[in-house]
């Protein structure tokens, strides 16, 4: 890759430099891949968390049934009895990528399982992402900055957090797609080549397939185009880079089912169309300017400007009318909360309540981009000296992404590549200056020897050529011959500059100290990243470990429970649990669930929440009406696992109560406090969640001491009437209960009782939303 873009491929020196940078890139790829393997080494090769399980299951389906079945897949294993159309509601990029990888490996007779491919997709794409970063930064500021930026991105903690081995989620491939799209845009902008512009549209298509964050691209690139136009940097290269992206990109984007007509209907995309019109108007102005004499042009300007204004005004009016006709002004809630940060907290509590959508505090920046936070301002300034089309894009990228990350902590992921690029530029410039200072002032080295013009020389030269090229951006692109001549000229000029630059040095000893400190800073970054990768971001959350005085404990209860379900229940049995565990149950136990992590139907979730918060009998009726056979609860009280169902229970009450008003949150709180000890309210002590969680719990230690809530439970001895315990895992973390069949319940009672219960059942329809 690097070998193609050298200014002087003839000399051995440059060939060596290129081989070296290729080798460095290879090592960076290895670094990016291997730093993400901590999760496999410390735990095992396993899919992480919740959403990745869904992606894994979809990939399995894809590899088994092929792409057309995947496209038309209606999943009846989830959201029972509603089901879910998978093909039209997922971003298929990740799945298709992993499926293709698996297929290629299989045709090469490498028999890897689908799971293995899925586990390692994210690390592989991290390596790709760091190479894409190299390419992008090279376009902005040369090879040295590119290599530095790639090395920084390979281990930036923010990106590691989403792409460790096993974290099989959209963001893993999307960040690569994001950077690569930007690279192709800059490449098209720098070269004015339609080839790169077309590739850019295809890369954009891949991004649209992969992640909803593609709207960032389709707003950032128009912003940059507008910026170029406004600051008088319009050129035909800009037109070539932009126009095909809008036309082809929009057409391709609407091919993705989950986007579809949104690509032309929602406000997120309107900016690109508006800029598309503006760039045509501007292109026309420049064209007319080219064919007319200056006097004629002045006359024409008034004409064209007025016509252009009228056209723009008309289109704007249409757009405004379109936007104003929709209630949210055509913007989705999440986009709005980015533009007006206080929007979500005022109007959309469900968005505001998600922890990923919180605004970050300053330690988040230190945790996620670490020392890059210090280097970015230097990179920004370096981009302005001199300012080119490419570097102005980099500045725009960092400015927008840093603002967005300030609003939502989750968008730190988009900031990370920008921060790496900026820091790479800053570090590379600083190293350039300091090493030059040392090199030309070292005693015993002759100042005039040609060898001295070495590495830094090439980088500088490279820069100069680029700058000159971009400075005459207003000119048409010269023909190849002219270009060569011009190049010769610039090269001569660059030699002069080089001699000038040789004089621009800093004191020797201060430079040595500065380099030492910079290396120290880099070392600190490496230590931090390795620590973050190993300690903070590698836990799969499906297997838990804890270290105590008597060694390492492994809690593998989740898979134990799902395995039990898989082997001991009928294929068509329905399992009810809180939605967090829906994806895992369908993927690992292959059983039908009522609700899952794709929280598209609030009423359905509220039904399960209501059942969990109701007394046993009412809950039994709700579950029975949903054909549920088994109820699964997660309980951490025995081992002290804090994110269990009892701790999530208030959300079940709130969500349930939101739809079925007979569930009231105050009934579960004693004086506004959530407690499960003897002070707890009777509603709390009689609800299904409490009973299923603490059933027989007192038999473990005789007291019923809950190690998460640090208290003895309120009601210790009770029997279940409508449910029976069928399985409890080793550490009691997952407990599975079966609904008792109705006839067992009334056996042994008199006929009178029988008629009573039946009349009661029909007499209480209000409690059961499914009757």
């Amino acid at each position: 890759m690097a070998a193609l873009d050298t200014p002087q491929p003839s000399t051995l020196r440059h060939a060596f430099g290129n081989v070296l940078s290729l080798f460095i890139l290879l090592l960076i790829g290895v670094l990016a891949f291997s730093i993400r393997l901590f999760s496999v080494i410390k735990y095992e090769s396993v899919i992480h968390e919740f959403d990745p399980y869904f992606n894994y299951r979809v990939t399995q389906f894809l590899t088994k049934n092929g792409i057309y079945d995947f496209w038309n897949w209606f999943d009846d294993r989830t959201w029972y009895p509603l089901g879910r159309v998978i093909g039209g509601t997922v971003f298929p990029g990740l799945t298709l990528t992993a499926g293709t990888l698996w297929r290629i490996l299989n045709t090469l007779n490498i028999p890897l399982s689908v799971e293995t491919v899925c586990v390692f997709t994210a690390p592989i794409f991290s390596a790709f992402a760091s190479w894409a970063t190299y390419l992008l930064t090279k376009e902005v500021k040369g090879v040295g900055a590119g290599l530095t930026a790639a090395a920084l991105l390979a281990m930036v903690p923010s990106y590691i957090s989403r792409s460790v081995a096993g974290s099989y989620d959209n963001e893993a491939v999307a960040i690569f797609a994001l950077i690569f799209t930007f690279y192709l845009y800059i490449k098209a902008l720098n070269t004015g080549s339609l080839f790169y512009a077309t590739l850019n549209a295809i890369a954009y298509f891949y991004m649209v397939c992969s992640w909803g964050g593609y709207t960032f691209i389709i707003n950032l690139i128009p912003m940059h185009v507008l910026l170029c136009i406004v600051t008088g940097r319009y050129s035909s290269r800009l037109y070539i880079a932009y126009a095909p992206l809008v036309v082809l990109g929009t057409l391709l984007a609407s091919l993705v089912p989950v986007v579809g007509f949104n690509a032309v209907m929602t406000s997120e995309h309107f900016a690109s169309f508006l800029v598309f019109i503006i760039i045509h108007v501007v292109a026309l102005v420049y064209y007319i300017k080219g064919i007319l004499s200056p006097q004629m042009f002045k006359v024409a300007v008034t004409l064209v400007v007025s016509i252009g204004l009228i056209v723009c005004g008309a289109v704007l009016a249409v757009l405004i009318a379109l936007v104003a006709s929709s209630p949210t002004k055509g913007w989705s809630g999440r986009s709005l909360s980015l533009l007006d940060p206080t929007y979500a907290s005022k109007y959309i509590p469900i968005i505001a309540s998600v922890s990923e959508h919180q605004p970050p505090t300053w330690p988040s920046y230190f945790m996620d981009i670490n020392v890059l936070a210090f280097l970015v301002p230097a990179g920004i300034i370096a981009c302005f000296l001199p300012l080119s089309d490419a570097s102005s894009f980099a500045v725009l990228y960092i400015a927008t992404s840093v603002y967005f990350s300030g609003v939502m902590v989750r968008l730190m992921l988009v900031l990370a590549p920008a921060a790496c690029i900026m820091s790479g530029i800053a570090l590379s410039e600083a190293f350039g200056v300091f090493t030059r200072s040392i090199k030309f002032q070292l005693p015993g080295v002759s100042q005039n020897s040609p060898v001295n013009a070495g590495d830094t020389g090439t980088v500088i030269q490279n820069d100069v050529v680029k700058t000159e090229k971009s400075e005459d951006s207003l000119k048409e692109r010269p023909s190849r011959k002219n270009k060569k001549k011009e190049k010769d000229k610039t090269e001569r000029a660059s030699v002069v500059r080089q001699i000038e630059k040789r004089l621009l040095v800093l004191p020797l000893e201060a430079s040595v100290i500065a380099i030492f400190l910079l290396v120290l800073l880099g070392a600190f970054y490496v230590v931090h990243c390795v620590w973050a990768a190993a300690e903070a971001y590698s836990a799969p959350s499906i297997v838990l470990t804890s270290r105590s005085h008597d060694g390492l404990h492994v809690f593998d209860d989740f898979r134990e429970a799902y395995g039990w379900l898989r082997h001991n229940t009928e294929v068509d049995d329905k399992v009810a649990s809180w939605w967090d565990y829906g994806y895992q149950t369908t993927a690992m136990a292959n059983r039908t669930v009522i609700v899952d992590n794709n929280t598209w139907n609030n009423t359905h979730i509220a039904t399960v929440g209501t059942a969990m918060s109701s007394p046993e009998k009412a809950a039994w009726e709700i579950f029975n009406s949903l054909d549920v056979k088994y109820v699964l609860v997660v309980f951490g009280g025995l081992v002290g696992y804090p994110s269990d169902d009892i701790n999530k229970f208030l959300w079940m009450v709130r969500i349930g109560g939101g739809v079925f008003p007979h569930i009231k949150e105050p009934d579960y709180l004693r004086d506004g406090q959530y407690r499960i000890d003897s002070q707890a309210t009777p509603t709390m002590l009689n609800c299904l969640m409490y009973k299923l969680s603490y059933y027989r719990f007192v038999e473990t230690d005789g007291k019923g001491f809950d190690r998460v809530r640090n208290t003895e439970i309120g009601k210790k001895y009770f029997k279940l009437t409508h449910f029976e315990e069928v399985f409890t895992t080793h550490h009691w973390m997952v407990r599975i209960f079966k609904l008792k069949p109705p006839k067992n319940r009334i056996r042994g009672k008199t006929k009178k009782a029988k008629s009573k219960t039946s009349s009661k059942r029909s007499g209480t329809p209000k409690k059961n939303p499914w009757h």
């Binding site: 301002p377 230097a378 400015a399 200056v433």
Partner: protein
């Protein structure tokens, strides 16, 4: 969210002109049919621009003298002019939001005008009524269903959560309790139509001049130093967590609980930060990069070696201390123990 506070009894003489006018309007006959009261209320309501009726003691007495069930709901906003200056109660805001609900209701449901009335009552005029309702803290809004006989027991107070989202949540409260639908809340636009027209004309006139300048290439937009400063500022603003401060409305500093004379600028715990703290660290984040850029782009052009040397030493020292300070603060705030991994044979 509004903070509740106890009402003070400090009051002054209140101009009672409105009260007097209302008294004059009041017919002297004490026994009144509900029709006459309703028609009188309707008249008062149409006089008010928002539909909110100023409630006086005699008027209240007459409303209460009606036999239950009364033909209408009424919603009462308890106001106190003397507390309008207390920012944390946000009484003026709530009052205007209350008026907004009222006007929206009457515009949306012109046929249901007699079914619900919106009242406001002033503390200094009607202290006895306040006592009658048992209201001793503000802000307070109460709904009286038609059947309410006992003012304290049968009426429904609005919870703090019901006016947390201002007019919208008040409307929801009314809908849930009285089964009367308020409909969409009509907020007056921030800029009036005249202003919009004026701005539009101004922009239209200004655009050609701007375009001319733009084509000539000499606007502020063409000065790259402004863009540079802007980009750096956005960066500083974001990494300092200013968005967090704005969204969460964090104060710049806190008073120390144990020792009120001391101020707390740094908050321990990574989930929260104070304003001053964020800006301090944001400054540290930014200064290092700025100094580095200064050295590589400006200092390098200085001819004098001694100046270069001294400046560089200072710059390096400041940068080193800044990084060290941030690392220290981060470890203190988050409590993470970041450590390296050495080969086990080294230990």
């Amino acid at each position: 969210m509004a903070i509740f506070t106890t009402l003070t009894n400090a009051n002054s003489a209140v101009p009672l002109i409105l009260l007097l006018i209302l008294n004059l309007l009041t017919p002297l006959a004490s026994s009144l049919s509900s029709d006459s009261v309703v028609s009188e209320l309707s008249a008062l309501q149409s006089q008010s621009s928002t539909g909110v009726i100023h409630l006086t003691d005699p008027l209240l007495r007459r409303i209460l003298s009606l036999p239950t069930p009364r033909p209408f709901h009424f919603l009462l906003f308890f106001d106190a002019q003397s507390l309008h200056s207390k920012a944390e109660l946000s009484l003026p805001t709530l009052k205007s939001e209350f008026a907004l609900v009222s006007s929206s209701f009457y515009t949306n449901n012109p046929d249901q005008k007699g079914l619900i009335f919106f009242f406001e009552i002033e503390f200094q005029e009607s202290q006895s009524s306040f006592a009658l309702f048992g209201v001793n803290s503000l802000p307070h809004i109460r709904l009286f269903p038609p059947s309410a006989t006992d003012l304290k027991k049968d009426s429904i107070p609005m919870d703090a959560s019901d006016f947390s989202r201002l007019a919208e949540s008040m409307a929801e409260f009314i809908e849930s309790r009285s089964r009367l639908s308020v409909g969409p809340v009509h907020r007056p636009p921030i800029v009036s139509k005249k202003q919009i027209a004026f701005i539009a004309i101004a922009i239209l006139i200004w655009t050609p001049f701007f375009l001319k300048k733009l084509i000539a290439g000499n606007t502020v937009l063409h000065d790259k130093n402004i863009w540079m400063a802007g980009a750096i500022f956005v960066y500083f603003f974001s990494v300092s967590g200013a968005m967090f401060n704005i969204i969460r409305k964090m104060p710049m500093f806190l008073l120390d609980r144990n020792d009120p004379s001391k101020l707390v600028f740094f908050y321990q715990g990574s989930g929260m930060q104070l304003g001053a703290e964020g800006f301090a660290v944001g400054f540290l984040y930014t200064i290092v990069g700025l100094l580095l850029a200064f050295v590589t782009h400006v200092l390098i052009r200085v001819k004098n070696r001694t100046v270069q040397r001294v400046t560089m030493i200072i710059v390096l020292l400041v940068s080193f201390l800044a990084v060290k300070q941030v690392v220290f603060l981060d470890n203190w705030k988050t409590g993470y123990g970041i450590h390296a991994y050495w080969p086990s044979s080294w230990q």
